[in-house]
């Protein structure tokens, strides 16, 4: 998919230029000096990005890149690839030293290839100063020590999504914020045959999100600050014992659930409380037959449990510039350009809430007032937890997430295959392997 100017993109360029005035007014900025990045003459940039959630995401993104290309008289080509493929393509690009100049990967990807990519501290410092600072999740994924190696561009969170009517019938106005209350709510829902359900199968997104919430909200973590495996802890065992009580309240079948299963079950009225991204809400809102269900739906953060805020590591877009690029200045300047209010705010609005901003100033974006129900996603990146919390992001944390170490620990306890202690010990054994040093 090369960049071509079609009537549509031309319209989008016009559109984003039109709204630029209002965006600049709404987004508060502080004075900051942009880094000196002389764009290389005749440069030609290639960028790789995960595919869109919604059509306007791609249109506005392409239009923004096109404007940058026109301003500097260079070429910019954007390719969109499937979510499952981006990690492998990044690895190949990094190892062969050939391919795209910029890859917008997921989460901790820049940490795996930190020797193959350019330092982005200058751009990140400038953007941070200008737009009110970077949010905690952006700092966790973007920084290695004091150095910025990735440029986070947005995150997609997974809050609790629930049916107002079902909760009311069970005697709750809102989901309780503590573990005991949440368990009581799920038990009450089970009694009125309107059960909750959380994925415990091999589901990359939903399974990991729930398992991470369960362990983190009890104060447990996979590895400590130094990166030593610390999953086999009293906090984890407490979390698993809690799950043993919680699991019987779920709708049957959650051990076999993939990423799509809870969307289907919730939409079909088989499950009344689950954890999911904003896509579930929009799929119902945009379907006339499901409008009533969308109206009955609310989204709030997961219970915070024993910590001070609900832990949820949103899926984060994280851009990196490769050293093999012949035009590193142009690449960095393009990323900076995309994060400026004139480009970023229209893009944020085009995404209607699917992606949430990494920079504080964009919390004022009009997108968050477009539908009161999506306001829970406004603060997705105000979160102190990341995949592989609370160690440094390494190959190990990425692999442990991809291999469902935490999910399967929880699933084995829920299914009764193992009790809490052996399950935590097994997770420790597997995690040790991934975090072994070479």
């Amino acid at each position: 998919m090369t960049l071509e100017i079609t009537r549509r993109t031309a319209l989008a360029v016009g559109g984003s230029a039109l709204v630029a005035g209002s965006a600049a007014a709404q987004i508060q900025t502080q004075p900051a000096t942009p880094p000196n990045l002389p764009v290389e003459r005749g440069a030609s940039l290639r960028m790789l990005r995960p595919v869109r959630f919604v059509q306007p995401d791609e249109e506005v993104w392409r239009a923004n890149c096109q404007r940058f290309a026109q301003q500097h008289g260079i070429e910019v080509r954007v390719d969109f690839v499937g979510w499952e493929d981006i990690t492998q393509q990044t690895a190949v690009t990094a190892n062969t030293g050939a391919g795209p100049d910029i890859i917008v990967g997921f989460d901790g990807a820049p940490h795996l290839f930190s020797t193959k990519i350019h330092d982005l501290t200058d751009v990140a410092t400038y953007l941070g100063t200008k737009y009110g600072g970077w949010r905690p999740l952006a700092q966790a994924y973007g920084k290695k020590g004091d150095q910025w190696i990735g440029l986070p561009m947005g995150a997609s969170g997974g809050p609790l999504i629930w049916r107002t009517s079902a909760l009311k019938e069970a005697g709750f106005d809102t989901p309780p914020d503590d573990h005991a209350g949440f368990l009581r709510m799920c038990q009450a829902l089970k009694r009125i045959n309107k059960p909750a359900g959380f994925a415990l199968g091999n589901a990359v997104g939903d399974g990991n999100a729930f398992a991470n919430w369960l362990v983190w909200s009890h104060g447990g973590y996979l590895v400590d600050e130094q990166g030593a495996v610390a999953i086999n802890s009293p906090a984890t065992i407490k979390a698993l014992e809690y799950l043993r009580e919680l699991y019987p309240t779920f709708v049957p079948g959650t051990l076999a659930w993939g990423d799509i299963s809870n969307n289907r079950a919730y939409s079909a009225g088989e499950c009344f409380v689950t954890q999911n991204g904003v896509s579930l809400y929009f799929s119902m809102k945009n379907d006339p037959a499901m409008r009533a269900l969308a109206e009955d739906t609310q989204m709030t953060p997961m219970p915070k449990g024993m910590i001070d805020a609900a832990p949820n590591a949103g899926l984060t877009l994280n851009a990196m510039v490769f050293r093999h690029s012949r035009a590193p200045n142009a690449a960095k300047a393009l990323l900076q350009f995309l994060m400026e209010a004139d480009q970023y705010d229209p893009w944020l609005r085009a995404n209607i809430g699917y992606w949430s901003q990494p920079l504080n100033a964009y919390a004022a974006s009009a997108v968050w007032d477009s539908d009161p129900k999506i306001s829970v996603f406004r603060d997705t990146m105000n979160n102190n937890f990341w995949n592989g919390y609370k160690g440094p992001i390494t190959e190990g944390s990425v692999a442990a997430t991809a291999d469902y170490v935490m999910v399967q620990m929880c699933a084995s306890v829920a299914s009764g295959v193992a009790t809490a202690r052996p399950a935590a010990a097994e997770a420790e054994r597997r995690a040790r392997r991934y975090f072994r040093s070479r």
């Binding site: 990690t87 492998q88 290839f113 049957p252 659930w257 299963s261 991809a402 299914s415």
Partner: protein, 317 residues
């Protein structure tokens, strides 16, 4: 007549050029003629296989090249209950599914060998499960086994036979059996059609002779059909065992190895560890560990099932 010296005509044999001589030299000619085939085999068979085996002895991950670590991957796997679970299920899956496929497939072949109306059409329909791309039938089974939206659960609940959906893939043993059923469904046509081909090569005169001698249907099957079918049975079984043991798509599309790793086959575990998990070396080690099983299965089929003694009666060695 003057004596003139008759022109001496000698057959001048052109000394062949060096190139011609080279091509006339048999060993070289053989080498040259084999080169394209050998090149293709080396590039597309030996190299990937060799690379896979080499990777199994390294700690390569997606993202960085590996170093030689000897048997470390295998030592780790030997202590890994998930790996042994996958070995167990691969063997169990292959054994049960193969028995099921051959029992039902042979039965189907015998039925199809009868004179039936619209025989050709029936045979074509029988092949359908085999023709449909595996991923499509796997997705169909995924829906059939869905914890919430299974058609079987729906029918049973509507008929008042059950109150809750059937647990097909939500716990270990039901999931294992469900996958085996799906694999048998998919594999029957291959076995049935291959055995049907074998059945049709058996000369009718043998059956006529047996009938004259007053043989019962069972005796005809036991002493004519079965021995005559043995050679093709051995080949088909070898292929079937290999296909089943290396199955990937059904399991990956329906359960992804879950719940809690109870339905991982060696192929799905190798993929899970190697590609999403990024541990290429370990994934390769799991894949390499399939080789002994496959070699054993192949040797068993060839040397045991294809023995003349088995085919043609006890005394004929």
């Amino acid at each position: 007549m003057s004596a003139t010296t008759a022109p001496v005509w000698t057959k001048v044999r052109q000394q062949p050029g060096a190139l011609t001589r080279l091509f006339d030299w048999k060993p070289f000619l053989i080498f040259i003629c084999l080169l394209p085939a050998v090149g293709l085999l080396m590039t597309f068979l030996t190299y990937p296989l060799g690379l896979g085996i080499w990777l199994a002895f390294t700690d390569q991950t997606i993202g960085r090249p590996g170093v030689w670590i000897g048997l470390e991957n295998f030592v780790w796997l030997a202590e890994d209950p998930i790996f042994w679970g996958a070995v167990f299920y691969s063997v169990f899956y292959t054994a049960v599914a193969t028995i099921g496929k051959f029992a039902l497939g042979l039965w189907l072949a015998l039925l199809l060998n009868q004179h039936l109306p619209m025989k050709s059409l029936l045979r074509a329909i029988i092949l359908l499960p085999w023709i449909v791309p595996t991923v499509l039938s796997a997705i169909a089974f995924w829906w059939i086994y869905d914890p919430q939206f299974s058609i079987i659960s729906y029918v049973l609940i509507e008929m008042g036979l059950r109150e809750t959906p059937v647990d097909f893939i939500n716990s270990a043993w039901p999931a294992r059996w469900s996958l085996i059923v799906a694999n048998i469904w998919r594999g029957i046509p291959f076995v049935a059609i291959s055995l049907l081909a074998g059945l049709q090569t058996i000369s009718p005169s043998l059956y006529e002779a047996a009938l004259l001698d007053g043989a019962s249907p069972w005796q005809r099957f036991r002493h004519i059909t079965f021995p005559m079918l043995m050679p093709i049975l051995a080949i088909v079984m070898t292929f079937s065992i290999i296909f089943t043991f290396t199955d990937f798509q059904l399991v990956y599309a329906i359960t992804r190895g879950g719940p809690v790793n109870s339905t991982h086959l060696l192929a799905t575990l190798a993929f899970q560890r190697g590609i999403p998990g990024g541990q290429l070396g370990e994934g390769a080690a799991i894949a390499v560990s399939m080789i002994p099983f496959l070699v054993f299965a192949t040797l068993f089929s060839y040397f045991a099932l294809a023995r003349r003694k088995w085919q043609q009666g006890e005394s004929n060695d």
